[in-house]
Symmetry: C2
Subunit: 209 residues, 2 copies
Protein backbone atom coordinates (compact mmCIF):
# COMPACT_ATOMS: atom_id res chain seq x y z
CA UNK A 1 0.00 0.00 0.00
CA UNK A 2 1.27 3.44 -0.99
CA UNK A 3 0.04 6.40 1.02
CA UNK A 4 -0.16 10.03 -0.09
CA UNK A 5 -0.87 12.80 2.41
CA UNK A 6 -2.33 15.87 0.74
CA UNK A 7 -1.24 18.92 2.75
CA UNK A 8 -1.66 22.64 2.10
CA UNK A 9 -3.02 25.87 3.54
CA UNK A 10 -6.78 26.36 4.00
CA UNK A 11 -8.45 26.58 0.59
CA UNK A 12 -5.48 25.25 -1.39
CA UNK A 13 -7.65 22.51 -2.92
CA UNK A 14 -6.82 19.36 -0.93
CA UNK A 15 -10.35 17.92 -1.06
CA UNK A 16 -10.88 18.72 -4.72
CA UNK A 17 -7.55 17.16 -5.62
CA UNK A 18 -8.48 14.08 -3.57
CA UNK A 19 -11.65 13.83 -5.65
CA UNK A 20 -9.95 14.40 -9.01
CA UNK A 21 -7.02 12.07 -8.28
CA UNK A 22 -9.33 9.32 -7.07
CA UNK A 23 -11.53 9.53 -10.15
CA UNK A 24 -8.50 9.51 -12.41
CA UNK A 25 -6.91 6.53 -10.68
CA UNK A 26 -10.17 4.55 -10.60
CA UNK A 27 -10.69 5.20 -14.31
CA UNK A 28 -7.26 3.64 -14.77
CA UNK A 29 -8.31 0.64 -12.65
CA UNK A 30 -6.06 1.42 -9.68
CA UNK A 31 -7.51 0.32 -6.35
CA UNK A 32 -7.54 3.59 -4.43
CA UNK A 33 -9.06 4.37 -1.05
CA UNK A 34 -9.68 7.84 0.40
CA UNK A 35 -9.46 8.89 4.04
CA UNK A 36 -10.86 12.19 5.24
CA UNK A 37 -8.72 13.26 8.19
CA UNK A 38 -10.49 16.59 8.78
CA UNK A 39 -12.91 16.39 11.73
CA UNK A 40 -14.20 19.90 11.04
CA UNK A 41 -15.33 19.66 7.44
CA UNK A 42 -19.06 19.78 6.60
CA UNK A 43 -19.17 19.07 2.88
CA UNK A 44 -16.72 17.15 0.76
CA UNK A 45 -16.66 16.95 -3.05
CA UNK A 46 -16.21 13.16 -2.75
CA UNK A 47 -17.48 10.30 -0.54
CA UNK A 48 -14.55 9.25 1.66
CA UNK A 49 -14.07 5.49 2.16
CA UNK A 50 -12.78 6.17 5.65
CA UNK A 51 -13.73 9.21 7.61
CA UNK A 52 -12.33 10.56 10.87
CA UNK A 53 -15.76 12.09 11.53
CA UNK A 54 -17.05 8.61 12.29
CA UNK A 55 -14.72 8.61 15.29
CA UNK A 56 -14.69 12.27 16.25
CA UNK A 57 -17.71 14.54 16.48
CA UNK A 58 -16.55 18.13 16.60
CA UNK A 59 -19.92 19.47 17.70
CA UNK A 60 -19.98 17.15 20.70
CA UNK A 61 -16.44 18.25 21.56
CA UNK A 62 -17.37 21.92 21.27
CA UNK A 63 -20.43 21.39 23.47
CA UNK A 64 -18.74 19.11 26.01
CA UNK A 65 -15.67 21.29 26.57
CA UNK A 66 -17.48 24.59 25.89
CA UNK A 67 -15.14 25.47 23.04
CA UNK A 68 -15.53 27.78 20.05
CA UNK A 69 -14.75 26.70 16.48
CA UNK A 70 -11.05 27.44 17.07
CA UNK A 71 -10.60 25.44 20.23
CA UNK A 72 -12.96 22.74 18.97
CA UNK A 73 -10.84 22.17 15.88
CA UNK A 74 -7.61 22.09 17.88
CA UNK A 75 -9.05 19.55 20.33
CA UNK A 76 -10.60 17.43 17.56
CA UNK A 77 -7.36 17.25 15.58
CA UNK A 78 -5.43 16.40 18.74
CA UNK A 79 -7.90 13.56 19.37
CA UNK A 80 -7.07 11.90 16.03
CA UNK A 81 -3.91 10.34 17.48
CA UNK A 82 -5.98 8.35 19.95
CA UNK A 83 -7.95 6.78 17.07
CA UNK A 84 -5.13 6.48 14.54
CA UNK A 85 -4.14 2.90 15.40
CA UNK A 86 -7.72 1.59 14.98
CA UNK A 87 -8.23 3.53 11.75
CA UNK A 88 -4.91 2.30 10.37
CA UNK A 89 -5.86 -1.31 11.09
CA UNK A 90 -9.21 -0.93 9.32
CA UNK A 91 -7.56 0.63 6.28
CA UNK A 92 -4.85 -2.01 6.31
CA UNK A 93 -7.47 -4.79 6.32
CA UNK A 94 -8.99 -3.23 3.24
CA UNK A 95 -5.43 -3.02 1.80
CA UNK A 96 -5.78 -0.87 -1.34
CA UNK A 97 -2.99 -0.12 -3.81
CA UNK A 98 -3.08 3.53 -2.91
CA UNK A 99 -4.40 5.42 0.09
CA UNK A 100 -5.04 9.14 -0.29
CA UNK A 101 -5.26 11.06 2.98
CA UNK A 102 -7.05 14.39 2.84
CA UNK A 103 -5.58 16.28 5.83
CA UNK A 104 -7.36 18.90 7.98
CA UNK A 105 -8.44 22.16 6.33
CA UNK A 106 -6.19 24.38 8.40
CA UNK A 107 -2.74 22.95 7.73
CA UNK A 108 -1.42 24.48 10.90
CA UNK A 109 -3.59 22.23 13.07
CA UNK A 110 -2.11 19.17 11.42
CA UNK A 111 1.41 20.19 10.46
CA UNK A 112 2.43 22.49 13.30
CA UNK A 113 1.12 20.63 16.32
CA UNK A 114 3.12 17.73 17.77
CA UNK A 115 0.04 15.46 17.58
CA UNK A 116 -0.20 15.86 13.80
CA UNK A 117 3.20 14.31 13.24
CA UNK A 118 2.38 11.44 15.61
CA UNK A 119 -0.88 10.72 13.75
CA UNK A 120 0.89 10.90 10.38
CA UNK A 121 3.58 8.43 11.47
CA UNK A 122 0.87 6.06 12.71
CA UNK A 123 -1.19 6.29 9.53
CA UNK A 124 1.60 6.60 7.00
CA UNK A 125 2.84 3.02 6.80
CA UNK A 126 6.13 2.19 5.09
CA UNK A 127 5.61 3.70 1.65
CA UNK A 128 4.28 7.16 2.16
CA UNK A 129 4.78 10.51 0.54
CA UNK A 130 3.51 13.99 1.19
CA UNK A 131 1.99 16.09 -1.58
CA UNK A 132 2.30 19.74 -0.65
CA UNK A 133 -0.18 22.03 -2.39
CA UNK A 134 1.03 25.55 -3.02
CA UNK A 135 -2.04 27.69 -3.65
CA UNK A 136 -1.43 29.54 -6.92
CA UNK A 137 -2.95 32.68 -5.38
CA UNK A 138 -0.03 32.72 -2.93
CA UNK A 139 2.57 32.05 -5.67
CA UNK A 140 1.72 34.74 -8.22
CA UNK A 141 3.99 37.34 -6.60
CA UNK A 142 7.72 36.67 -6.15
CA UNK A 143 7.57 37.18 -2.38
CA UNK A 144 4.47 35.01 -2.17
CA UNK A 145 6.28 32.23 -4.01
CA UNK A 146 9.22 32.40 -1.59
CA UNK A 147 6.71 32.40 1.23
CA UNK A 148 5.04 29.25 -0.11
CA UNK A 149 8.40 27.54 -0.53
CA UNK A 150 9.35 28.40 3.05
CA UNK A 151 6.07 26.96 4.31
CA UNK A 152 6.65 23.86 2.24
CA UNK A 153 10.15 23.52 3.65
CA UNK A 154 8.88 23.86 7.20
CA UNK A 155 6.36 21.07 6.51
CA UNK A 156 9.13 18.92 5.08
CA UNK A 157 11.30 19.48 8.15
CA UNK A 158 8.41 18.40 10.33
CA UNK A 159 7.43 15.09 8.73
CA UNK A 160 10.60 14.06 6.87
CA UNK A 161 8.49 12.22 4.29
CA UNK A 162 9.39 12.22 0.60
CA UNK A 163 7.66 15.40 -0.52
CA UNK A 164 6.27 16.61 -3.82
CA UNK A 165 5.44 20.32 -4.16
CA UNK A 166 2.51 20.98 -6.46
CA UNK A 167 1.10 24.36 -7.52
CA UNK A 168 -2.64 23.94 -7.14
CA UNK A 169 -5.55 25.72 -8.81
CA UNK A 170 -3.23 26.74 -11.64
CA UNK A 171 -6.21 27.14 -13.98
CA UNK A 172 -7.13 30.25 -11.99
CA UNK A 173 -4.34 32.37 -13.49
CA UNK A 174 -3.29 33.20 -17.04
CA UNK A 175 -0.87 30.93 -18.87
CA UNK A 176 1.78 33.72 -19.15
CA UNK A 177 1.92 34.23 -15.40
CA UNK A 178 2.13 30.49 -14.84
CA UNK A 179 5.09 30.31 -17.22
CA UNK A 180 6.69 33.17 -15.31
CA UNK A 181 6.28 31.31 -11.99
CA UNK A 182 7.84 28.27 -13.64
CA UNK A 183 10.79 30.44 -14.73
CA UNK A 184 11.22 31.81 -11.20
CA UNK A 185 11.28 28.27 -9.84
CA UNK A 186 13.85 27.08 -12.37
CA UNK A 187 16.21 30.06 -12.32
CA UNK A 188 16.77 31.87 -9.06
CA UNK A 189 18.30 34.84 -10.88
CA UNK A 190 14.99 35.43 -12.66
CA UNK A 191 13.28 35.37 -9.24
CA UNK A 192 15.85 37.87 -7.97
CA UNK A 193 15.21 40.09 -11.01
CA UNK A 194 11.48 40.01 -10.34
CA UNK A 195 12.05 41.07 -6.72
CA UNK A 196 14.44 43.83 -7.77
CA UNK A 197 11.82 45.10 -10.20
CA UNK A 198 9.30 45.36 -7.36
CA UNK A 199 11.80 47.21 -5.18
CA UNK A 200 12.64 49.59 -8.03
CA UNK A 201 8.97 50.22 -8.79
CA UNK A 202 8.31 51.01 -5.12
CA UNK A 203 11.26 53.42 -5.04
CA UNK A 204 9.98 55.22 -8.14
CA UNK A 205 6.47 55.43 -6.69
CA UNK A 206 7.86 56.78 -3.40
CA UNK A 207 9.91 59.38 -5.29
CA UNK A 208 6.85 60.52 -7.27
CA UNK A 209 4.65 60.98 -4.19
CA UNK B 1 -0.14 55.34 18.45
CA UNK B 2 2.10 52.29 18.33
CA UNK B 3 0.55 49.02 17.19
CA UNK B 4 1.71 45.49 18.00
CA UNK B 5 0.26 42.50 16.16
CA UNK B 6 0.61 39.30 18.18
CA UNK B 7 0.94 36.42 15.72
CA UNK B 8 1.67 32.72 16.26
CA UNK B 9 0.39 29.21 15.65
CA UNK B 10 -2.80 28.00 17.35
CA UNK B 11 -2.18 27.65 21.07
CA UNK B 12 1.05 29.65 21.12
CA UNK B 13 -0.35 32.00 23.76
CA UNK B 14 -1.41 35.13 21.85
CA UNK B 15 -4.45 35.87 24.01
CA UNK B 16 -2.67 35.19 27.31
CA UNK B 17 0.21 37.42 26.28
CA UNK B 18 -2.28 40.14 25.30
CA UNK B 19 -3.71 39.89 28.79
CA UNK B 20 -0.34 39.86 30.59
CA UNK B 21 1.15 42.66 28.49
CA UNK B 22 -1.92 44.85 28.94
CA UNK B 23 -1.92 44.38 32.71
CA UNK B 24 1.79 45.12 32.88
CA UNK B 25 1.52 48.25 30.74
CA UNK B 26 -1.52 49.55 32.62
CA UNK B 27 0.25 49.04 35.95
CA UNK B 28 2.96 51.25 34.49
CA UNK B 29 0.36 53.86 33.50
CA UNK B 30 0.67 53.37 29.77
CA UNK B 31 -2.58 53.98 27.88
CA UNK B 32 -3.03 50.64 26.11
CA UNK B 33 -6.01 49.38 24.11
CA UNK B 34 -6.65 45.78 23.05
CA UNK B 35 -8.31 44.59 19.87
CA UNK B 36 -9.49 41.01 19.46
CA UNK B 37 -9.21 40.21 15.75
CA UNK B 38 -10.35 36.57 16.06
CA UNK B 39 -14.00 36.15 15.00
CA UNK B 40 -13.98 32.49 16.07
CA UNK B 41 -12.91 32.70 19.71
CA UNK B 42 -15.43 31.95 22.48
CA UNK B 43 -13.55 32.83 25.64
CA UNK B 44 -10.75 35.30 26.14
CA UNK B 45 -8.61 35.73 29.26
CA UNK B 46 -9.16 39.51 28.99
CA UNK B 47 -11.95 41.94 28.04
CA UNK B 48 -11.03 43.41 24.67
CA UNK B 49 -11.63 47.15 24.22
CA UNK B 50 -12.42 46.54 20.56
CA UNK B 51 -13.70 43.24 19.29
CA UNK B 52 -14.15 42.00 15.74
CA UNK B 53 -16.99 39.80 17.01
CA UNK B 54 -19.13 42.94 17.32
CA UNK B 55 -18.93 43.22 13.54
CA UNK B 56 -18.75 39.59 12.50
CA UNK B 57 -20.88 36.76 13.85
CA UNK B 58 -19.32 33.45 12.91
CA UNK B 59 -22.41 31.43 13.80
CA UNK B 60 -24.56 33.55 11.48
CA UNK B 61 -21.97 33.08 8.72
CA UNK B 62 -21.88 29.32 9.25
CA UNK B 63 -25.69 29.14 9.17
CA UNK B 64 -26.16 31.56 6.27
CA UNK B 65 -23.59 29.99 3.96
CA UNK B 66 -24.05 26.43 5.32
CA UNK B 67 -20.41 26.17 6.32
CA UNK B 68 -18.62 24.00 8.87
CA UNK B 69 -16.18 25.40 11.47
CA UNK B 70 -13.39 25.36 8.85
CA UNK B 71 -15.19 27.24 6.12
CA UNK B 72 -16.88 29.50 8.66
CA UNK B 73 -13.55 30.63 10.06
CA UNK B 74 -12.08 31.22 6.61
CA UNK B 75 -15.10 33.29 5.53
CA UNK B 76 -15.19 35.22 8.82
CA UNK B 77 -11.50 36.15 8.65
CA UNK B 78 -11.89 37.17 5.01
CA UNK B 79 -14.76 39.44 6.04
CA UNK B 80 -12.54 41.40 8.45
CA UNK B 81 -11.11 43.46 5.57
CA UNK B 82 -14.55 44.88 4.81
CA UNK B 83 -14.82 46.20 8.39
CA UNK B 84 -11.19 47.19 8.91
CA UNK B 85 -11.56 50.84 7.88
CA UNK B 86 -14.46 51.45 10.29
CA UNK B 87 -12.69 49.64 13.14
CA UNK B 88 -9.48 51.57 12.49
CA UNK B 89 -11.33 54.88 12.65
CA UNK B 90 -12.96 53.96 15.96
CA UNK B 91 -9.63 52.92 17.45
CA UNK B 92 -7.97 56.04 16.08
CA UNK B 93 -10.62 58.26 17.69
CA UNK B 94 -9.81 56.60 21.00
CA UNK B 95 -6.11 57.19 20.18
CA UNK B 96 -4.23 55.19 22.85
CA UNK B 97 -0.44 55.13 23.29
CA UNK B 98 -0.31 51.47 22.37
CA UNK B 99 -2.70 49.20 20.50
CA UNK B 100 -2.29 45.44 20.96
CA UNK B 101 -3.93 43.33 18.25
CA UNK B 102 -4.65 39.72 19.18
CA UNK B 103 -4.78 37.99 15.76
CA UNK B 104 -6.94 34.96 14.82
CA UNK B 105 -6.24 31.65 16.60
CA UNK B 106 -5.18 29.79 13.49
CA UNK B 107 -2.28 31.89 12.21
CA UNK B 108 -2.71 30.45 8.75
CA UNK B 109 -6.11 32.12 8.32
CA UNK B 110 -4.59 35.49 9.04
CA UNK B 111 -1.01 35.24 7.79
CA UNK B 112 -1.35 33.02 4.73
CA UNK B 113 -4.44 34.41 3.09
CA UNK B 114 -4.19 37.55 0.94
CA UNK B 115 -7.01 39.19 2.95
CA UNK B 116 -5.02 38.95 6.20
CA UNK B 117 -2.25 41.16 4.86
CA UNK B 118 -4.78 43.69 3.53
CA UNK B 119 -6.51 43.87 6.93
CA UNK B 120 -3.16 44.22 8.71
CA UNK B 121 -2.07 47.11 6.45
CA UNK B 122 -5.42 48.84 7.09
CA UNK B 123 -5.24 48.40 10.85
CA UNK B 124 -1.52 48.78 11.38
CA UNK B 125 -1.07 52.53 11.04
CA UNK B 126 2.37 54.09 10.67
CA UNK B 127 4.16 52.71 13.70
CA UNK B 128 3.47 49.03 13.82
CA UNK B 129 5.43 45.93 14.68
CA UNK B 130 4.71 42.24 14.64
CA UNK B 131 5.44 40.05 17.65
CA UNK B 132 5.84 36.47 16.48
CA UNK B 133 5.26 33.86 19.18
CA UNK B 134 7.29 30.69 18.81
CA UNK B 135 5.56 28.05 20.94
CA UNK B 136 8.25 26.56 23.18
CA UNK B 137 6.77 23.11 22.58
CA UNK B 138 7.76 23.45 18.92
CA UNK B 139 11.25 24.78 19.76
CA UNK B 140 12.51 22.14 22.19
CA UNK B 141 13.94 19.93 19.43
CA UNK B 142 16.57 21.29 17.00
CA UNK B 143 14.42 20.52 13.94
CA UNK B 144 11.39 22.05 15.63
CA UNK B 145 13.34 25.22 16.30
CA UNK B 146 14.39 25.48 12.64
CA UNK B 147 10.78 24.83 11.71
CA UNK B 148 9.59 27.67 13.95
CA UNK B 149 12.20 30.00 12.52
CA UNK B 150 11.13 29.14 8.96
CA UNK B 151 7.50 29.83 9.87
CA UNK B 152 8.53 33.11 11.44
CA UNK B 153 10.50 34.04 8.32
CA UNK B 154 7.55 33.26 6.08
CA UNK B 155 5.38 35.54 8.24
CA UNK B 156 8.00 38.26 7.99
CA UNK B 157 8.13 37.93 4.21
CA UNK B 158 4.38 38.33 4.09
CA UNK B 159 3.85 41.46 6.18
CA UNK B 160 7.26 43.20 6.00
CA UNK B 161 6.64 44.76 9.41
CA UNK B 162 9.44 45.15 11.94
CA UNK B 163 9.27 41.76 13.65
CA UNK B 164 10.25 40.50 17.08
CA UNK B 165 10.48 36.74 17.60
CA UNK B 166 9.52 35.66 21.10
CA UNK B 167 9.63 32.14 22.57
CA UNK B 168 6.31 31.82 24.36
CA UNK B 169 5.23 29.62 27.27
CA UNK B 170 8.90 29.24 28.25
CA UNK B 171 7.89 28.41 31.83
CA UNK B 172 6.62 25.07 30.54
CA UNK B 173 10.12 23.62 30.07
CA UNK B 174 13.11 23.24 32.37
CA UNK B 175 15.65 26.01 32.68
CA UNK B 176 18.46 23.81 31.25
CA UNK B 177 16.58 23.12 28.04
CA UNK B 178 15.72 26.78 27.70
CA UNK B 179 19.41 27.65 28.01
CA UNK B 180 20.19 25.06 25.35
CA UNK B 181 17.62 26.60 22.96
CA UNK B 182 19.23 29.96 23.64
CA UNK B 183 22.64 28.48 22.75
CA UNK B 184 21.27 27.01 19.52
CA UNK B 185 19.88 30.41 18.56
CA UNK B 186 23.13 32.22 19.29
CA UNK B 187 25.58 29.75 17.76
CA UNK B 188 24.57 27.90 14.63
CA UNK B 189 27.40 25.38 15.11
CA UNK B 190 25.82 24.27 18.38
CA UNK B 191 22.55 23.80 16.53
CA UNK B 192 24.36 21.77 13.88
CA UNK B 193 25.97 19.67 16.63
CA UNK B 194 22.57 18.99 18.16
CA UNK B 195 21.21 17.83 14.79
CA UNK B 196 24.27 15.65 14.15
CA UNK B 197 23.75 14.05 17.57
CA UNK B 198 20.18 13.14 16.61
CA UNK B 199 21.33 11.67 13.29
CA UNK B 200 24.08 9.67 15.05
CA UNK B 201 21.65 8.39 17.70
CA UNK B 202 19.23 7.26 14.99
CA UNK B 203 22.05 5.47 13.14
CA UNK B 204 23.10 3.64 16.31
CA UNK B 205 19.49 2.69 17.07
CA UNK B 206 19.03 1.43 13.51
CA UNK B 207 22.25 -0.62 13.77
CA UNK B 208 21.12 -2.17 17.06
CA UNK B 209 17.70 -3.22 15.70
Amino acid sequence: MYTAFLVGTAGSGKSYLTNALTNYLRTNEVDVVTFNMDPGVYRLPYSPDFDVREYINIEEIMAEFELGPNGGLVAAVDLITSHAAVIYEEINNRSPDILIIDTPGQMELFAFRPTGVIAAKQLGGDNCALVYLMDVNLCREPYGLINSMLLSLSVQMRFFFPQLNVISKSDMIEKDLLDEIQDWLEDKFLLEDAINNIVRREQIEAALN
